[in-house]
């Protein structure tokens, strides 16, 4: 996909605050890159984007982008974004979140935003760990993993973000990895343009904690893992290895009413004085 202007990161970031604080090799920066590129290719007006995030390494992303940005409290970003979006439906609402932020403390806001099908794009930057606080397990770590709060390995099952988002009512659900940076970008573009609640899970390595604790090697090696351990939806490889993680667009439903639009109808009724 080509656009008029040539893409330059520096047109989309607050250069003053670079280099950013993420560790060397942190996957979150790759998500940032994919997102900026998606915004560029969609030719969105930077004034029309509000990025809302919570707390976590991932959440620091909002400070770096040159959009309106709202760095809030841990786990509640989608609730803040719901206020932004319902108050000003013409703005694009993008909410990047860590796996802990989105699905541990923030799990309820996640399923409720999905249920309402409000037009927000949720990006789950899934490194399967609490990076910012130094390597505790998250609801996406899965069993048998090492973490500072699981010295004897984890016994907690993980959520499947895709399944949960689907069940809760999200009308667009996709998954990719930072190894597949271009694919991630494409899904982000679709998600952003989708009318309704969209979820893009992007597997993103934390070499500092998850990688080190679980002996998964350096950033590049972890990314090789994403290549090896994921396949496109429905790939034949699943027959022999059902544990492979599927990538792709799992749901894309454009028929379900979007929340702000439904609200506009309430306004119409109310203005006619009917209750």
């Amino acid at each position: 996909m080509s656009t008029n202007k040539e893409f330059d990161f520096k047109n989309y970031v607050r250069g003053r605050y670079f280099p950013h604080i993420w560790c060397p090799g942190c996957g979150h920066g790759i998500v940032l890159g994919a997102l900026l590129r998606a915004v560029h290719e969609l030719e969105l007006d930077k004034n029309n984007i509000v990025m809302t995030s919570g707390i976590g390494c991932s959440s620091r992303i909002s400070g770096y982008v040159d959009f309106h940005s709202l760095h809030t409290i841990h786990g509640r970003a989608l609730a803040f974004a719901t206020g932004v979006k319902l108050s000003r439906p013409n703005l694009k609402a993008i909410v990047p979140m860590g796996d802990g932020d989105a699905l541990a403390i923030g799990g309820n806001h996640f399923i409720h935003a999905a249920r309402r099908n409000i037009d927000i794009t949720a990006i789950v930057m899934n490194n399967r760990i609490y990076g910012m606080t130094g390597g505790q397990f998250s609801p996406l770590s899965g069993t048998g993993k090492k973490a500072t709060t699981a010295p004897y390995t984890t016994i907690d099952n993980n959520f499947d973000v895709v399944e949960l988002a689907k069940a809760a009512g999200a009308s667009f659900v996709a998954r990719s990895t930072v190894f597949h940076a271009s694919e991630s970008k494409e899904y982000l573009k679709k998600a952003i343009m989708h009318k309704g609640f969209s979820v893009v899970e992007i597997l993103s390595q934390c070499p500092t904690y998850y990688g080190r604790k679980n002996k998964e090697g350096d950033a590049a090696t972890m990314m090789e893992g994403y290549r090896k351990n994921t396949v496109k939806i429905g790939s034949k490889k699943l027959d022999t290895n059902p544990d492979l993680i599927q990538r792709g667009i799992f749901v894309e439903d454009t028929d379900r009413p979007e929340y702000c639009e439904a609200y506009d109808e309430i306004i119409e009724t109310a203005m006619k004085g009917k209750a």
Binding site: N47, V50, S69, T82, G83, V84, R88, L91, I266, M271
Partner: protein, 384 residues
């Protein structure tokens, strides 16, 4: 017969809704809880009719978050709750302090702690309103004892929130919230309605969202407008970007406190009744103040020099006013429905704390004129 078109006979919670509408509210997010629910219910009806937005969120935390988000787009926002919900909102309320977001939070008080006595009156959240969120900060909390004042204080709450970019707590109570009485809705223009300052910095010129002007105020720019900036709950620089340089930290913290404390006079609302020559000063607020006024009116008729200082601003605590009004009192009695929250403030405010007494009730029943009379007799050494 009076002109009835502006007269309502409604609950205090609805008077609060009328005040909010007068002040220009256009976004409300909430989660039901007794005895505040009617605020949400009426706004669910009224807001869409003026093109405003009402949303019932999944909990109180989300409600507080949603109004902050909406405020940043330029809406005038409010949420309403009671005890347990107010506890849940504390984290996000602190965020609003730190990020300087105008918003109004009504807490219609019920009996606590915990689930407590949900359908009965209390004034037990006074100190929580001040100290419920972690860390140093300052807060504004207003209250009222009748529906006309509920209306007025609600308007003022929005005005203060918008002026000082701060959360403002409306500390009502179950009796006020649920009781019905007259409200006469003021004409447009009769009460001041303040909108937030918006920046005059033109597009393309550097706008510093967190650089206070000399008067301590910070002009805002709505999300969606031409200035793109960052908002955070971390200590931050003038662009709103996280920064923990010691100087930045202490400057910001002082600014957050000073902008409220130094403006206390502009935020300070109170009423006085028969105070001029009062030997006995009753200090009260909210529904308790009705009983205080009742007994004072009654005793005055019998010649007792008694008056009432009715607080409408609870935080920042009007120390100066209290000291001044109590200067000549033989005895001061604080009338409240808790184990003594405002009385502690009064004691530190006055020159003679030993002359300060408490008439209270903590059993879920509205404190009555008789209760106060009893305490009064005891103070006078007359026994019960």
């Amino acid at each position: 017969m009076t002109n009835t078109s502006n007269i309502r006979f409604i609950q205090g919670n609805e008077a609060c809704v009328e005040g909010a509408l007068y002040a220009g509210i256009n976004f409300f997010a909430g989660y039901p809880i007794t005895p505040s629910t009617e605020i949400a219910e009426h706004l669910a009806q009224r807001l869409p009719a003026i093109g405003g937005k009402f949303i019932q969120m999944e909990d109180e935390i989300a409600s507080m978050a949603a109004i902050i988000g909406a405020s940043l787009t330029g809406s005038k926002v409010m949420t309403a709750t009671s005890g347990p919900g107010f506890s849940l909102k504390q984290e996000a309320l602190g965020y609003a302090c730190m990020a300087e977001i105008p918003c109004v939070i009504a807490n219609v008080q019920r009996g606590g702690p915990s689930t407590g006595n949900p359908t009965h009156v209390s004034q037990g959240d006074v100190n929580q309103a001040r100290w419920g969120t972690h860390g140093d900060h300052s807060i504004v909390a207003l209250t009222a004892s009748n529906h006309q004042d509920v209306f007025k204080m609600t308007v003022e709450a929005f005005n203060i929130a918008e002026t000082y970019r701060t959360p403002v707590v409306l500390l009502f109570d179950e009796v006020i919230g649920h009781m019905r009485e007259k409200l006469e809705i003021p004409e447009r223009g009769e009460l001041p309605v303040v909108d937030r300052l918006r920046t005059s910095v033109p597009k393309g010129v550097d706008y510093h969202p967190y650089l206070p002007r000399e008067d301590g105020r910070l002009p805002m720019s709505d999300f969606g407008a031409e200035h793109r900036y960052n908002v955070t709950g971390l200590f931050h620089d003038m662009w709103g970007f996280p920064n923990n340089d010691p100087q930045v930290v202490s400057d910001l913290l002082r600014h957050l406190v000073d902008k409220i404390e130094n403006n206390w006079e502009n935020i300070c609302f109170y009423k006085e009744h028969w105070l001029d020559d009062a030997d006995y000063v009753l200090i009260s607020y909210g529904s308790s103040a009705r009983s205080a006024k009742h007994i004072a009116r009654n005793r005055r008729k019998r010649g007792m020099k008694i008056g009432v200082l009715e607080l409408q601003t609870i935080w920042p605590f009007p120390t100066e006013i209290v000291r001044e009004k109590c200067a000549n009192a033989k005895a001061v009695m604080v009338v409240e429905m808790n184990m003594g929250q405002v009385v502690t403030q009064v004691k530190s405010a006055v020159d003679h704390p030993e002359k300060v007494f408490l008439a209270n009730r903590i059993d879920g029943q509205l404190i009555s004129p008789t209760d106060i009379k009893t305490t009064l007799r005891m103070i006078q050494g007359k026994g019960v």
